[in-house]
Subunit: 338 residues, 2 copies
DNA sequence: CTGTTAGCGCATTCAC
DNA sequence: GTGAATGCGCTAACAG
């Protein structure tokens, strides 16, 4: 039965050093900066590590060296599938550089975001990644004063707390509206989630269109179910609806399912465009037109910016626009799976 | 331009104490154990905290108190949707208790799992959660010696490293086979991912059936696409296939899509059962029969066991079977969305 | 290449 | 109710 406190005294570097017959600092160097130590000593220390089962205590090292080798990441919720490839790529790059991720979920609540930021900072992360922009000015100021690199992601702003890697949601909405217009569709609708990025896309969509259109709003997390319901609401507002923009591929799939259930042919009777280019979008039948965003690239770029900063290197750009592109597939009359 | 190292000396508890006109330890108590301090002092300390913008350093506190208030969680990959609700529930409960999660991705690689475990342990987490069982005996032994509570999840074993919360995949496979048999279907197929838990379900399925059946195996992560392909392979093996068990709802959806594309009616021509009860399963058309597992409950239970252990409380059971249930919906001839 | 000294920021232990 | 001394485990800075 494992005890919750270590029964046997935990092995420290001191023990390793004694075992190897060297001083503590030499053992330390042998492990973390072998270039400074003779081959023979390194060998003896490694031997001692094995003999004792030593596991370094990075907390203690970090206390002295002022670097925790941890990066804090804040996401609204893990259930928001869009961020996962970004977080995955982020952890991969950071892990390769010896950094671990501490994860926090803000739950779409600004007050919660402020509180979580506090507890995160008290872990002294070397850097911080946000999914989205930091909302409250108090938090922005606090982050600036924390003096650590901060990357906001999945959005764009001229005034990041520190750095930002993402794309313009306003432009996404605008691009989709433009695409619909070039297709000649006039009777449009929006099925959207209620988060602020979706709201921006909607705003861009309406602005480019130059007029209001029927909208169905679903609370986060958006889902197939909310997509089905949204199409019902939109058809109630305009039974002759020609095309729908959905704020996520999950909702778009719901719209497709509901359309089929109602005997509407896609795209002949109704065209559908999603957002996110989820794994299933290319392989559904009909394949789904959607907006592709390179989530892993956002994560990798964020990681590289942070790591550069942690190494005190200069960063060329503080605002990185990774853009997006519309992938036309069958649900709007495209051909294939793109 | 934020520097990567704090420009201004970071505010410490010592600074707060000086500002408040008390000793460091009194300031410490005022913040973490106010019962021991007079009301007036608490007030002055809190004032000083605000004035200085002090953020506690939990790393330093943890060094002395031997508790990091961090819990390490290892998942195969964030893209495995099944674990997300568990991780989400886990973080929620832990966060409420003042614990943060450090997340690691093993990437389905056993060697990687061992290495990651080492780097995780060097953060001195107070506890550790695994998605799945710990594979290598070396890692199991190392975890035992670490002396921290460990919960393996999403599986069951009589010999956990410490504790386990999950259910029997063997029984799941067996239950689905039994369900198919009571329905009178004889020509069965399996569309499965290649992870070890899916392999167990397949084994249970075949054991209960008492004979081999056509199988299509897809590499992780299983997806709609791999489901579509799998159905093609299965039909090539048995054109008169009556029912398919899929190791994930994503694959099951792919099977449904492919079946429709081939003009097969579900469930009349082909019955389909998935696994996981994903959010879309109930709302797809046809609604999907699947196996429901209470992911959030696994996360909550794991968190509670860990927290109890961290408080040195006794834990009643070290092996907790949370079970599962088959939810019958339209894809196997059930009625509604259950 | 190796060792000594000092201290990271805080909490435990003991004193008052 | 408050404080002084001490040390958690490790590494930066300096010496040799």
């Amino acid at each position: 039965m494992a005890a919750s406190r270590p029964a046997r005294k935990t092995v420290t570097l001191h023990d390793v050093a004694r075992e190897a017959g060297v001083s503590t600092i030499t053992a330390s160097r042998a492990l973390s900066n072998p270039a400074l130590v003779s081959k023979d000593t390194i060998e003896r220390v490694q031997q001692a590590v094995r003999a004792t089962g030593y596991i370094p205590n990075l907390l203690a090292g970090g206390l002295k060296s002022q670097r925790s080798h941890m990066v804090a990441a804040l996401v609204p919720a893990l259930s928001v599938a869009q961020f996962l490839p970004t977080i995955q790529a982020l952890t991969d790059v950071l892990d390769a550089a010896g950094y671990q991720l501490i994860l926090g979920q803000t739950g779409y609540d600004h007050a919660r975001e402020d509180a979580l930021l506090g507890t995160m900072l008290s872990r002294r992360p070397d850097a911080l990644v946000m999914s989205g922009l930091v909302h409250s000015e108090a938090s922005r100021e606090r982050l600036r004063r924390a003096g650590i690199p901060v990357v906001e992601t999945w959005d764009l702003t001229d005034h990041p707390v520190d750095m930002v890697v993402g794309f313009s949601h306003l432009k996404v909405g605008s691009a989709i509206a433009g695409y619909f217009l070039t297709k000649g569709w006039q009777r449009l609708g929006i099925a959207t989630g209620d988060d602020e990025r979706a709201a921006q896309r909607r705003e861009g969509f309406v602005a480019t269109l130059g007029r209001e259109v029927p909208v169905a709003v679903a609370p986060a997390p958006s889902s197939l179910e909310s997509g089905r319901r949204a199409l019902g609401e939109l058809l109630a507002q305009d039974p002759a609806l020609q095309a729908v923009y959905c704020s996520s591929d999950q909702m778009a799939q719901g719209v497709l399912v509901e359309a089929r259930a109602r005997g509407l042919r896609v795209p002949q009777d109704l065209a559908v465009c999603g957002f996110g280019n989820a794994a299933f979008a290319a392989h559904y039948d009909p394949s789904m037109t959607t907006v592709h965003v390179d989530g892993p690239a956002i994560g990798r770029m964020a990681a590289e910016l942070l790591l550069a900063r942690c190494r005190d290197e200069a960063v060329a750009q503080r605002v990185v626009d990774l853009g997006f592109r519309i992938i036309e597939r069958e649900s709007t009359g495209g051909s294939g799976r793109g």
